[in-house]
């Protein structure tokens, strides 16, 4: 794939169409070291969003009327100020989402959080690459599947995933290797049959996310000599219909140090917001950011392949 292939393929600049979500990456500390993690998070992670940056994020949320905040990491639960931050985020009419690996909620010092999540009506999104224990553990580490299912049961007892409760528990599927995710609806049926019938746990929605060729997953692609074929598959699967709904068009992503990015993939690649729009939370300017030109690269083929991929799952109908 020649450099700049994505920009050539879309034939012009990609621009934002508003700011519906402020994504806040609170750091790269995590209790797990998943093999596909594009952030490269793990127990050795040292990046922790300072309180002053969290306060600035809250000020932006209040001033800009952004309707949703999406908290991610690392494991957000390991941030020392997470409880305070979530309480401050929670406001009438604002959706607060936490991307949790769930296994962390069984760790000492984190077991109070399911109650806090339910009290604040936080939407939860967790990664579960497969309904199969062995497959999930192959990617996320031994014993993780059982821990996730245990926490899902705890959350179900609090109303999460139950129809009509309004407490949202979504599950993320991503491929366990160098291939694209299949049909989201077909995979969701499989998850429901297995997790519902065999494990007795409920969830709201399955979101399929394509593995991005960056971070730890890129290391895997290189090590196994899958890189060129995978990149070729992403490019060959480019679907222009996904450009309407890629997440960068409606989101601003805040890095642990307050730098602003178009998405958290650009965050990993250190490609801050550019083209004249402010690239720091300290200089947040809603008007300039909501119409900004987005910084793209060839990794963007990952979000635009086939039915597309975003934090919300598959972005568009297949070609």
């Amino acid at each position: 794939m020649p450099a700049g292939a994505f920009e050539q393929r879309i034939g012009g600049p990609l621009t934002a169409a508003g700011i519906e979500v402020l994504q806040v990456n609170v750091g790269d500390r995590c209790n797990l070291s998943c093999r596909h993690c594009h952030v490269g998070a793990g127990p050795a992670g040292t990046r922790v969003m300072p309180r002053a940056i969290l306060e600035r994020c809250l000020a932006v949320l209040r001033a800009s009327a952004i309707p949703a905040v999406d908290v991610t990491g690392g494991a957000p639960e390991l941030h020392p100020d997470i409880r305070w931050f979530l309480r401050e985020c929670a406001a009438p009419g604002r959706r607060v989402t936490v991307r949790s690996n769930f296994a962390v909620l069984l760790e000492e010092g984190c077991r109070d959080l399911p109650d806090l999540y339910a009290d604040l009506r936080v939407e939860l999104v967790t990664s579960l690459p497969s309904w199969d224990e062995e497959h999930t553990d192959r990617q996320r580490g031994a014993g993780v599947f059982r821990k996730v299912v245990t926490v899902m049961r705890q959350l179900n007892e609090r109303g999460y995933g139950a129809p009509g409760s309004g407490l949202v528990l979504d599950v993320v599927h991503n491929p366990i290797g160098a291939y694209l995710p299949g049909c989201q609806a077909a995979l969701e049926r499989q998850y429901r049959e297995s997790l519902g019938a065999r494990q007795g746990v409920l969830f709201n929605r399955l979101r399929c996310i394509t593995n991005m060729p960056i971070g730890r997953f890129l290391d895997f692609l290189r090590r196994t000599e899958n890189r060129d074929e995978y990149l070729g598959t992403l490019e060959a699967s480019f679907n222009p219909a996904t450009l309407q709904s890629v997440m960068c068009r409606s989101m601003v992503s805040v890095g642990w140090d307050g730098t602003l990015y178009d998405c958290d993939f650009n965050q990993v690649l250190r490609l801050p917001i550019d083209h004249g729009a402010p690239a720091s939370i300290l200089a947040f300017d809603h008007e300039r950011l909501r119409r900004r030109r987005i910084t793209v690269g060839d990794h963007c083929f990952g979000c635009t392949a086939g039915p597309g991929s975003s934090c919300q799952g598959q972005a568009a109908a297949g070609r």
């Binding site: 497969s130 309904w131 199969d132 497959h135 599927h173 491929p175 290797g177 291939y179 694209l180 995710p181 299949g182 049909c183 077909a186 995979l187 049926r189 499989q190 070729g232 060959a236």
Partner: protein, 110 residues
């Protein structure tokens, strides 16, 4: 001319309608209908397609349908079971055709 089977040629599958676009378009419509979800799930159809691909020794189809099965979360054990169904069918078909041989032998031998 290079190798008869080139991995890159899999990407050319989209162009097989070249020289006969009407028939090519009709084929792709049929292909999509036949392999898409119906009374059988995409997963079941993927396993059937994989079994056929291996029995017909088509490297392009094996590549495409192995990836399709992976994408649908089909475990490797199930893929191998499907291949065994194809292998058993091929063996059975071969042996069933020996009926012709047995009939001829019985008719002709003294």
């Amino acid at each position: 001319m290079g190798d008869y089977y080139d991995k890159k040629d899999l990407a050319d599958f989209a162009n097989i309608g070249e020289f006969a676009p009407e028939q090519g378009s009709a084929f792709f419509d049929y292909y999509a209908k036949a392999t898409g979800e119906g009374r059988l799930t995409a997963r079941e159809k993927g396993l059937i397609a994989l079994a056929v691909a291996t029995t017909q020794n088509c490297p392009y189809c094996i590549d495409a349908w192995t990836n399709a099965c992976l994408s649908l979360g089909v475990p490797r054990e199930e893929m191998m079971e499907a291949v065994h169904v194809g292998a058993a069918m091929m063996a059975g078909i071969t042996l069933a055709h020996a009926t012709q041989m047995r009939k001829i032998v019985k008719k002709k031998e003294m």
